[in-house]
Symmetry: C2
Subunit: 351 residues, 2 copies
C-alpha cells in the first residue's frame, strides 16, 4: 500500500476511524488495549497523518509565512533562522518568501500565503505593500521597519543607534562624517539619527543613497567614487553606514588607499550580525539584538493567532485590538549597543 490512510489503520486495528483519530490526537477516553492496537497498526503500515487533510478540517494550518527582502543578506538570514527555530519549537512550519525588495513580488507572495491558509505572517519587507493590504485574513507582524500602524512592529531602536554611533564619531573628533544608506525617506530612522546628531554638532549631513535593488558590485563602485570625491575636497574622515556591508566596502576602500584606520579614517556600520562579526571583528557597528527581535515577533504573532482562535466566532473585530496595537508600537523597540571595533577610535576624556 502506497500511502496508508487513517482508514487503513482503523481497519487493520479493527476499530473505527474515529478511534484512530482519537489516539492520534490523544483526545477523549481510550482503553490502553485499543491504544496499543492502533499504535501497532500505525507502525506496521508506516502510517503518517496527512497534515493537509488536518488543516482543511481543522481550519488551521500551523503554517506561518515569512516575507523578507532576501535571506542572502546576513541580517535577514539570521532573523529568518531565529524565527524559524522559534516557530518550529512552537509546532509551526515556515513558508519562506524572498521578495527581493520588489513590491509586485511581495504582493504575489502575500496572496499566495493567504491562499495557503497560513495562520500568520511575519514580514520585514520594505515596500508599502503591507499598508495597502485590504483586509488581511491572517495575523501579521512586521519586523525591522514599520510598514504601517495597522500591525505590530518589532524592531531595534534605529534612531538611537544611529545617533549613538554618530555622536561617538563626533566625540572622537571626526569633522567630516559621511552617511551611506539604501534609501532616503521619512521612515529611515537611521538616517534621521545621523542627521540630528550631525546638526546638533553643527556639521552638514552628506548622504550617499544606493538604492535597494542595486547589485552589490555596483554599490561598491558608487561607494568608492563617492569616497574618492569626498576625500578630494574637504577631507572625509569618517563613515557611518546603515549596514555592515556598506561599512565593509568603505573600510576596504580606505585600506586600499592606505588610509590609516582609525587614525585618519573611521568606519561604523549597522546590524552587527554574528556572520559579519566573525568575518570582520574589527568593524565597529551598531549591534541589533536579532534574537530578541525574532523571539518577540514570534511571541506577538502566536499570541494574536491563539487569541483569534478562541473568541471571535465571526468577523467582529476583537475588543482590545487597538490597545494591543498601541502596546505593540511602543513597547517593541529594542535597545542596541555599539560594538567598538578597531575601526572606531575610543573617546578620550577631555579635561
Amino acid at each position: 500500500m502506497s500511502k496508508p490512510k487513517l482508514g487503513d489503520v482503523a481497519a487493520r486495528a479493527g476499530v473505527s476511524p474515529t478511534t484512530v483519530s482519537r489516539v492520534l490526537n490523544n483526545r477523549g477516553y481510550l482503553s490502553q488495549r485499543t491504544r496499543e492496537k492502533v499504535y501497532d497498526a500505525m507502525r506496521e503500515l508506516g502510517y503518517r497523518p496527512n497534515a493537509i487533510a488536518r488543516s482543511l478540517k481543522g481550519q488551521r494550518s500551523r503554517m506561518v509565512g515569512l516575507v523578507f527582502p532576501t535571506v542572502a543578506n546576513p541580517f535577514y538570514a539570521e532573523m529568518v533562522y531565529r524565527i524559524e527555530s522559534f516557530l518550529a519549537d512552537a509546532g509551526y512550519r515556515v513558508i519562506l518568501c524572498n521578495s527581493d525588495d520588489h513590491p509586485d513580488l511581495e504582493e504575489q507572495y502575500f496572496e499566495m500565503l493567504l491562499s495557503n491558509q497560513v495562520d500568520g505572517i511575519i514580514t520585514g519587507a520594505h515596500s508599502q505593500v503591507v499598508a495597502n493590504l485590504p483586509h488581511v485574513q491572517a495575523p501579521l507582524v512586521t519586523v525591522d521597519r514599520p510598514g504601517t500602524q495597522k500591525y505590530p512592529n518589532i524592531r531595534a531602536d534605529n534612531y538611537a543607534g544611529a545617533r549613538m554611533a554618530v555622536e561617538h564619531l563626533v566625540a572622537t573628533g571626526a569633522r567630516n562624517i559621511l552617511h551611506i544608506t539604501s534609501t532616503v525617506s521619512e521612515q529611515n530612522l537611521r538616517l534621521a539619527g545621523y542627521r540630528d546628531a550631525l546638526t546638533a554638532a553643527g556639521m552638514t549631513p552628506q548622504v550617499l543613497e544606493l538604492g535597494f535593488r542595486t547589485p552589490l558590485p555596483r554599490k561598491r563602485e558608487l561607494i568608492e567614487r563617492y569616497l574618492k570625491e569626498s576625500t578630494a575636497g574637504e577631507r572625509a574622515d569618517a563613515v557611518f553606514a546603515s549596514n555592515d556591508t556598506y561599512a565593509a566596502m568603505a573600510l576596504n576602500w580606505a585600506r586600499t588607499r592606505n588610509l590609516c584606520v582609525p587614525q585618519d579614517f573611521q568606519v561604523v556600520g549597522f546590524d552587527g550580525t554574528e556572520t559579519v562579526r566573525a568575518l570582520i571583528p574589527e568593524l565597529a557597528t551598531v549591534v541589533q539584538p536579532i534574537e530578541q527581535i525574532a523571539t518577540r515577533a514570534v511571541q506577538r504573532l502566536l499570541q494574536t493567532i491563539e487569541s483569534g482562535r478562541q473568541g471571535r466566532p465571526d468577523d467582529t473585530p476583537s475588543p482590545h485590538e487597538s490597545d494591543k496595537e498601541q502596546q505593540g508600537s511602543t513597547a517593541d523597540v529594542f535597545p542596541v549597543h555599539l560594538h567598538e571595533g578597531g575601526t572606531l577610535r575610543a573617546i578620550t576624556v577631555s579635561s
Copy 2:
C-alpha cells in the same frame, strides 16, 4: 462574509461550483459570458482559492521542503535564496527547515515535510539521516554533500577545488600548510584534496577539526590556539580552510599578530559567497557556483516530480531509476574556480 468560498462565488454568479472551478483552472469549455460573470463575482467577493483544499483533492501541494543546517551561514543562505527563487518561478512554495546539523531535528523535519505532503525535498543536511530514510514518499535531491547513492547529488567539485588551492599554495613556495575543517571523514572531499596535494608535494598534512555544532567564538579560540602552536615550532606559513569563515578567522589572527599577508602567511578559504566577497574581497577562496548548483538541483527535482506524476500509478519503481541516478551522480558536479585575493601570492613562473 469572512472567507468566501468557491460555492459563494458560484451562487453569486448564478452558476454551479463546477463552472467556477473550470474558470479558475481554465479547463474545459466556457462561454465568454460565463467567464466574465464568474470573474466579476470573484472580484466582488474578494474570493481567494483555498490552496489547502486544492492540495487535498489534487494530490499535489506544490510545496517543496528545504532542509539545510542553517540559513545563518552565508553559503546556505545564498543557496536557499537561489533555490527559493527558482522554485517560486516554477510555481512552488518552499518550507524552510534549519536542522542545525542535528540528526534528530533533521529526522523530525523530514517526517513533518512528508506529513505536509510536500511534492519534493532538497536537502544539504549533514548527517546520514537521509541515507536511512526508509522509503521517502517524495522525490529528494541532495545538495553539496552526497548523503547516499540513493538520491541525486548536486555539488561543486570539492576535491578539485581543494587540490587546486593547495597546489597553488605549494607553487608559491609555502612549506607548512595547515588545514582547518569542520569534520574529518571519508566523505570530506576538501580534506581529501588537501591531503593528496600535500602528500604529492612531499609534505605532511596537519588538520584542525572544529566540529559542526561548535559555537563560533569557540571555533575562533580553537583556531587561534592552533595557529599559535603551529607557528611556534615549525613555522606555519599558510592555511587552507574548508570555508571562508574559518579562513577569515585565520586571517584576522594573522593580522593581529602583525604577520605580513601574503608574504609571511597565506590564507585560502572555500565557498566564495557574494556576501563574503563583498565583505572581504581580499580573501582568496575557492568559489562555488552556487547559482548553478541551485538551478540544477531545482531542475532535477522538478523533473523527477513531473515524471512521477504521469507514469507510476502504483508504487512500482520506475524503470530508469538507476540510470537517472547514475547520470545524477556523475554529471552534477560543477567546476569551481580560485579567486586570488590579496591573501594569496601569485605563482611566479620559475625558470
